[in-house]
């Protein structure tokens, strides 16, 4: 409710500023013009949305699989932890616009460089949150399992994994929110379709309203993915206090 009101207010001010000529419409089209572009170019933008949506889904899946494995690996093995921690953290310091063209050069113009780029952006929050969630299990519960003579694997399966789920979902939601950034940069580095590509060509043709429409779809994609994970979390993590 509050979010809808805020969005309406922002849109209203934006519309007024754009309509009454305070800003050149080539720089800032009014929301109604963006909506118009969205409708007029729906076939084009719809196809681009499908392309980018597919890239993001594949990239996120890869990020979840790799990120989850790394998080568990770092938790159970000090050797893995020592070896991987600098690399995992360092991977987030690599500037995306620099590395994206390299991926395209290595892997071509197809799906692979996009998926990889998205996974690179998304695996970090998954890894760190899975790792932290596993690590921060109540020590008393660990003692309990040890007094039952639980093996390392049993402790992971019966105690640590369920206890880490809320934290893992935080990682997934963060990953969902940033995933489209990876997709856009990968498409900018070399692509002939997708919302990032549409954004680039629309800018080039001074079709600012269409660029904003593409941006809106990216925004909606990220929000939808986030919502999907939030919904899954509510369905699965049913034991925490409602806030």
């Amino acid at each position: 409710m509050a979010a809808a009101l805020l969005a309406l207010a922002v849109l209203g001010i934006w519309e007024a500023v754009a309509r009454f000529g305070a800003v050149d419409e080539l720089l800032l089209p009014a929301p109604t013009q963006v909506a118009e572009a969205l409708w007029n170019d729906r076939a084009l933008l719809g196809a681009d949305l499908a392309v980018t949506g597919w890239e993001v889904l594949a990239g996120l899946s890869l990020a979840i699989a790799v990120g989850g494995l790394l998080g568990v690996g770092m938790h159970v093995s000090p050797a893995v932890r020592g070896a991987l921690r600098p690399l995992v953290i360092g991977s987030q310091a690599v500037p995306i616009p620099v590395i994206a063209p390299l991926f395209v050069l290595l892997l071509g113009f197809g799906l692979a460089p996009k998926v990889l780029m998205i996974a690179l952006v998304c695996f970090f929050p998954v890894t760190i949150n899975v790792y932290d969630g596993l690590r921060r299990v109540d020590p008393a519960a660990r003692k309990l399992l040890r007094s039952f003579d639980a093996t390392r694997w049993q402790t992971l399966r019966l105690l640590e994994a369920p206890a880490a789920l809320p934290s893992a979902f935080t990682g997934l939601k963060l990953a969902a929110a940033v995933s489209v950034i990876g997709a856009v940069f990968a498409e900018w580095a070399g692509s002939d379709s997708g919302l990032g590509h549409a954004l680039l060509t629309a800018n080039g043709q001074l079709e600012t309203a269409r660029a904003f429409a593409a941006t809106f779809l990216l925004f909606a994609l990220a929000v939808a993915l986030y919502g999907l994970f939030a919904l899954a979390e509510r369905r699965i993590v049913t034991w925490t206090e409602e806030t």
Binding site: D138, A140, A141, K143, L144, L145, R146, S147, F148, D149, A150, Q154, L158, L159, P162, A163, L165, V237, T238, W239, T240, E241
Partner: protein, 254 residues
Amino acid sequence: MPTHLEARVATPREGTQGPTGVALTEVSKTFGEVRALGGVSLRAAPREIVAIAGPSGCGKTTLLELVCGLSEPDGGIVAAEPAVLMPQRDGLLPWLSALDNAGLALRVAGASKADARDAAAEHFEAFGLAGFEATRPRELSGGMRQRVAFLRTLLAGKPVLCLDEPFGALDALTRMQMQRWLAGALAREPRTVVLVTHDVEEAVLLADRIVLLSPRPGRVIETLEVDLPRPRERTDAAVVALRERALRVLEGVR
């Protein structure tokens, strides 16, 4: 009769030299700069209930962890039959139902989910938990949580139970009811019990022997035999007298 509660109580056989009950000899434990235990000796014969009472921070929890083999002493000898811990508060896992929490030790021992549930479900009636099988711990009352935790501890099937302030988090009335309930449960299912408590009255009501510990580093100040018939009431003259005696001993070393 259900067989799951039958502990693997080690009966001393001829030629075997395994420990019986619990025996601690001059046990000490230090954490960094802090001496938690400064040479504690105590014993619990099989099927005996020994209460350890003392002020906060006298190393009571540390003692239980040593008995359960969760940590090693820095000095002295810990000899005990296999022991299971009922940690402070209750240690119930919030994502498991009451039934699955009660059967947790059976799952760890290799039982399937269904078998563990069946075994735990047999006791829900007797534990006053019937109808709450599928309820998560958050929705159970404090007393019910303790009963689930105690059933889980019993189902672990170990001869020694280490109870760490089992009723410390309960309100006075519930605590009284639970003490009575635990006394009854242990009368039906005798086990070797090491009960840690800061409540001297609880110790007198439940235990065969009370070991009074000094503040850190914990040492045994005095051991009181509780040679009173059961069931005991908190208003019994002998119970009151023993409680006062224990309190005086603890106060004397403050």
